[in-house]
Symmetry: C2
Subunit: 138 residues, 2 copies
């Protein structure tokens, strides 16, 4: 398992408390987390702006990525190492419990774009019910 310090070192980023806090939170989670979910029991530990800028920094350095859901809410997850070829980023969002999962390499997408259009990356959000919620609700 890769450590927080390794992740920061690899990107030539200084080790700061806020960066460690965020990376740790995501390393320990099996799902994507919103800013508030990340802050958890320590909503005041860092200034709002620091948190905001740290998320930007981590994203710019390819450590995390942002997932924008259909309700305008935003979650973050660690980047996986394996880059797939058409730059496909797929996530599942449970409409009931709000959890978001990264669907690494388990999706396929094809599009016929108009002539001369160029695709750089593809973002997919599947909306539905996770296993738990599907069984409770039905």
């Amino acid at each position: 398992m890769i450590t927080v310090e390794e992740i920061l070192r690899k990107q030539d980023l200084r080790g700061t408390a806020c960066r460690r806090f965020i990376i740790n939170g995501l390393l320990e989670s099996d799902r994507a987390l919103s800013e508030n979910e990340l802050k958890g029991d320590f909503p005041e530990l860092f200034d709002r702006v620091t948190f905001y800028r740290t998320l930007i920094t981590l994203e710019e350095h390819g450590i995390i990525h942002k997932i924008v859901l259909n309700d305008n809410s935003v979650k973050y997850a660690l980047n996986s190492h394996h880059q797939n070829e058409n730059n496909l980023h797929s996530h599942f969002h449970c409409e009931e419990c709000d959890e978001v999962l990264c669907l690494e390499g388990k999706t396929r997408f094809e599009a016929e774009l108009p002539d001369n259009f160029v695709s750089h990356s593809v973002f997919v959000v599947i909306e539905g019910f996770c296993a738990d919620c599907a069984s409770h609700i039905k």
Copy 2:
């Protein structure tokens, strides 16, 4: 070509100026429009809240749909009549000129979800360059 009045009538919605304005704007456009793009030269014609609530009403009645882009911005487009089977909503977003196109029926998506997960709908945003911007930039 279907008219604004037909669209409203079909959904048992009262004909109001704001509803007509929005539907008209989208009918006349070949691309998805943001709230400000819709307002165009008449940014003050309707109250901000009226516009906001009208968009919600139209979306709830299945007349329009919302497209949330990766930069948190939002655009709107008329719904197409043909419902595809896995409820796939695909859009192209030009990173340069910001235009958004609906890719009706020109995309295919498959996912292996974890056991017992249920998919209701799939939202795809392709980020890239449209033909015009691709030629200018390269």
